[in-house]
């Protein structure tokens, strides 16, 4: 994901009281002035704050959508009154921020990944740092995905390879094909259930945010670790289903 220029990842929302409108000097709302309606320079906020939302994961997507359309109309850079002005430039920046924020938050997975990034989790870096830790301690690296899933991925890949070889030899192994197809169905079900599992962690997260949004508790780390874990497993299964489909279609 490319970082939008005006969103400092992890930045705390600016206290609104300190911002007054550049045009009329009165207190302003996040994106445009409440008194005179002029667009304001983008403030460095995260996507949740951009929409005025708390950093919670259960989101009413229809309400988000309504707010998105509302804001996109008001922030539209082509409003003729703004043409050529500094205000138009800000509209442009705000609009692109709005689009990024909306696209990220409306998607349950992207939303979760985004929140995890705000929490300082680098999904891509994780594996490397675990390796470094294993090196330093002389231990075995803790695998990011559970061993039984790895085992499953490996076994299924063996079967897929066998299937490919059979096809090359023009042989048809109906039993093998059926077994793989069955496995695929099971994987798809697991894929679905992982979303439900993820949503249960959303609830835990949201409850924590309600109690204390700034808490540096171990619980906070635990919940985000559980979410990372689900996302990793889900990734594996998605790739696997994709490979199975490719093998069955060929």
């Amino acid at each position: 994901m490319t970082k939008p220029a005006f969103t400092e990842i992890g930045a705390k929302p600016l206290p609104l009281e300190t911002n007054s409108c550049w045009s009329c000097g009165s207190m302003r709302a996040a994106h445009f002035c409440e008194s005179c309606g002029k667009v304001q320079p983008p403030a460095p906020v995260d996507y949740f704050s951009f929409f005025g939302l708390p950093a919670k994961l259960t989101i009413e997507v229809p309400a988000l959508e309504t707010e998105f359309y509302h804001l996109s109309r008001k922030l539209h850079p082509d409003l003729s009154a703004r043409a050529g002005s500094q205000e138009q430039e800000w509209s442009l920046e705000q609009s692109s921020l709005l689009n990024d924020a909306y696209r990220t938050l409306r998607d349950p997975i992207k939303r979760t990944q985004y929140l995890l990034r705000l929490e300082g989790v680098e999904l891509e870096e994780q594996s490397k740092s675990a390796t470094e830790q294993a090196r330093a301690t002389g231990g075995v690296k803790k695998q990011i995905v559970p061993p039984d899933l790895l085992e499953e991925v490996f076994e299924l890949n063996m079967q897929l390879e066998e299937l490919k070889m059979n096809k090359q030899m023009q042989e048809d192994d109906a039993a093998l094909t059926a077994e793989i197809a069955k496995h695929k169905t099971a994987l798809e079900e697991k894929y679905e259930s992982l979303l439900q599992e993820l949503q249960s962690y959303w609830k835990e997260w949201d409850a924590l945010m309600e109690r204390n949004p700034r808490a540096e508790s171990p619980e906070r780390k635990q919940i985000s670790a559980k979410m990372v874990d689900v996302l990793n497993r889900r990734n594996y299964i998605r790739n696997l289903v994709r490979d199975v489909n490719a093998a069955l279609e060929n």
Partner: protein, 137 residues
């Protein structure tokens, strides 16, 4: 992206593809995965219990060319080394040998992880209480 000649060589003629008897006490098995791409790699070693030298190594990798080449190279490198020597193999050694580009570094990490995991598994087997028959001798 183009692969280096060495990667292509390992890819076309992978060394030591196959498997060893997972249940044997002399065999250590490492099964690892890269969450970035969803690839999996299995690496197995057979260790001489007198000398701690790795006498045999096999692998099977489902993944990109670099992962296959990295694991193929890893099996070549661990053979003839003692377990402790093998533990000193770093992914950057593999990167250098195969001239892997930065985006393929995680593939070499996978190979290092696999070596460690296989050795870890073998060590665990050595610590486990010996079957009664073995103890009695």
């Amino acid at each position: 992206m183009s692969y280096s000649d060495k990667v292509i060589d390992h890819y076309n003629n992978p060394r030591n593809v196959g498997s060893l008897d997972k249940s044997s006490t002399d065999v250590g098995t490492g099964l690892v995965g890269a969450p970035e791409c969803g690839d999996v790699m299995k690496l197995q070693i057979k260790v001489n219990r007198e000398t701690n030298v790795i006498e045999e190594a096999k692998f099977k990798t489902f993944g990109c060319g670099s992962a296959i080449a990295s694991s193929s190279l890893a099996t070549e490198w661990v053979k003839g080394k003692t377990v402790d020597e093998a533990l000193s193999i770093k992914n950057m050694d593999i990167v250098k040998e195969l001239s892997l580009p930065p985006v393929k570094i995680h593939c070499s990490v996978l190979a290092e992880d696999a070596i460690r995991a296989a050795i870890g598994d073998w060590k665990k087997k050595q610590e486990a209480p010996k079957p009664v028959a073995a103890e009695a001798k």
